[in-house]
């Protein structure tokens, strides 16, 4: 339970930039993917992948195809955030995505649990009488229609990383293999990417497992910020930092206004 390297200096990139770069590397040329509403990091990841190694990656949310924004915005679902596009669609496309499906999607959550389930509905109480009511989620169908998804959150604390979500807005691996298969689910989260670390899921137990910590972050810190028993392998890598050309493309072309650094 130790990191292979440690960094003495503060990284010259932001956590959000690290997240975007990590995710971009995992996207493959020719794939079709989408992200939800608040999706600056996922949008950056897709745009960077398209520029760097995946020119045939298609970005198709419910209502547009292949946007070419001049800068990043916190939203992804208005004209401002899309810039020019190859096609403008409507919510009819929501159903169309169910047909051929997506290769990947990005989820966020107020609560994320050890099986990668996501909660955006309420914390405490019940759905009808919540202590804290969240925004809800526009689209919960991608757990079924997207061949993999990523959990990407800008907050990694014990309040967000809980043993069991109070409400399953979008399912990850439910309560593990038995419940997952019983529900007829076929796909699930591949990575959970936070400002601190990258987690994947143990193929036997479907529980969240530390994969790598970002430069300057200790394994113990990640454990301390997680309110469930994170599986931690003997050897935890440091997340491969952004290469100069990745950072340059990200800053010069994808995010010239520095949204990911603000």
């Amino acid at each position: 339970m130790m990191t292979t390297r440690s960094a003495d200096h503060a990284p010259d990139y932001s956590p959000a930039e690290m997240q975007a770069v990590f995710l971009s590397r995992d996207l493959t040329d020719g794939e079709l993917g989408a992200a939800g509403a608040s999706a600056a990091i996922p949008m950056a990841a897709m745009l960077l992948a398209r520029l760097r190694h995946a020119p045939n990656l298609s970005i198709a949310g419910e209502m547009f195809v292949n946007p070419y924004p001049k800068q990043l915005w916190s939203s992804m679902l208005d004209d401002r955030a899309l810039g020019a596009c190859e096609a403008a669609e409507t919510f009819l496309e929501l159903f169309a995505h169910s047909h051929r499906g997506l290769d990947f999607f990005f989820h966020n959550g107020m609560q994320i649990d050890q099986y990668g389930n996501i909660n955006l509905h309420h914390i405490g109480g019940t759905i009808d009488a919540p202590v804290m009511r969240g925004p809800g989620a526009a689209n919960i169908s991608y757990a079924v229609t997207s061949r993999r998804f990523y959990i990407c959150t800008t907050v990694h604390t014990k309040r967000t990383f809980v043993p069991k979500v109070d409400f399953i807005t979008s399912p990850g691996y439910l309560q593990g293999p038995e419940s997952y298969h019983a529900a007829g689910l076929q796909y699930g989260p591949k990575y959970c990417v936070t400002p601190l670390a990258v987690m994947d899921f143990d193929p036997e137990t479907f529980r969240m497992r530390l994969k790598s910590v970002h430069e300057g972050i200790s394994v113990d810190h990640v454990i301390a910020q997680t309110d469930f028993e994170l599986l931690v392998p003997e050897h935890v890598e440091i997340t491969d930092p952004p290469a100069p050309n990745e950072l340059q493309l990200l800053r010069d072309v994808v995010d010239p206004k520095g949204l990911l650094r603000s």
Partner: protein, 313 residues
């Protein structure tokens, strides 16, 4: 062949909106709102709903909503929501949160496919839309719009979402002719077309009324044909503070200032409720017309900035 003479206009004046609402929607009815989040929301029409003191409304929308719904709740117009996501994106919606947590409104647990499927079914003239997704989510356990169904061909179990027929739909678009042919110039049309086809009555605000000949010259660009539209009203900056691209952008600063008032009220600040109601009085109740409203939000200077921001995209 040219257009017939004697054709009735569907154009109404700003001061006729109140009467139109009085004739088409009552307390407790289901109201549908077009646009999504901070784009294409018919805010000038929503403010008139508040001025009409409508109460106990059921609100439905395209899957993403925020500012206008929060304002309607703060003004006491809403009893139930059928809204998949309610957020200001950079903030949660304070009045929505407060009302749901206090139990003063019922926020039904729905998602995008159930709402869009419901509009689609209504637009298609069928009682339900099949949906093949949703496995494993708690949303389906509480969603009042859906039932299980068996495919008559494959025997597979899937879901049906119920047709949604709003009493009135309020939409905003960029252009229309006086006969109610609507043209969106924005890249995003969201669910506006489906909502127009599903609602009993449709009122659309537009940035600009154009000649009928302009509509006829480009029929592919008509987004909602006149047969689905009951009235159209020209309201410059009628979507403000949401955006109406490519004409003007989103007034994030105004939405933030509203959110500050609403969040303070939610948190129980001593002056919170008074300040929130003062916002409503100043921006919604007091203005006599759209020009009066625009004066309260920065007038020409601010509008020119929003136009410039849209043009720079």
């Amino acid at each position: 062949m040219t257009a017939a003479t004697g054709r009735k206009t569907k154009r109404i004046r700003f001061d006729e909106i109140g009467g139109f609402l009085a004739n088409t929607i009552e307390d407790g009815d289901l109201l549908a709102i077009g646009g999504l989040f901070k784009q294409g929301r018919p805010l000038a029409l929503i403010r008139e709903v508040i001025r009409q003191r409508l109460t106990a409304l059921k609100i439905i929308s395209s899957p993403g909503s925020g500012f206008d719904v929060d304002l309607l709740i703060a003004a006491g117009c809403v009893a139930e929501t059928f809204l998949p996501a309610v957020t200001l994106e950079t903030h949660m919606c304070p009045s929505f949160r407060r009302a749901v947590e206090a139990g003063t409104i019922t926020a039904h647990c729905v998602d995008a496919l159930s709402v869009v499927g419901g509009f689609l079914a209504a637009a298609n003239g069928v009682p339900f839309q099949p949906v093949a997704a949703w496995k494993g989510s708690d949303v389906i356990k509480y969603n009042p719009l859906i039932r299980e169904i068996t495919c008559p061909f494959t025997g597979e179990k899937l879901f049906a979402t119920k047709a949604i027929r709003p009493k009135l739909a309020l939409l905003h678009a960029q252009e229309a002719d006086e006969f109610g042919n609507i043209r969106h110039l924005s890249t995003m049309t969201y669910a506006d077309q489906m909502i127009a086809r599903s609602a009993d009555t449709v009122l659309v605000s537009v940035d600009r009324i154009v000649p009928s000949g302009d509509i006829i010259s480009r029929p592919r660009e008509t987004s909602i044909p006149c047969i689905y539209v009951d009235a159209v009203v020209e309201i410059p900056f009628g979507a403000h503070p949401t955006g109406s691209f490519p004409n003007y952008s989103i007034d994030e600063a105004h939405i933030d200032s509203y959110a500050t008032y609403a969040e303070a009220a939610r948190k129980g600040s001593p002056t919170g409720d008074a300040n929130l109601q003062a916002y409503i009085e100043r921006h919604v109740i007091a203005p006599q017309d759209q020009e009066g409203y625009l004066t309260t939000v920065g007038g020409d200077t601010r509008m020119e900035e929003l136009v410039a921001e849209a043009q720079a995209l």
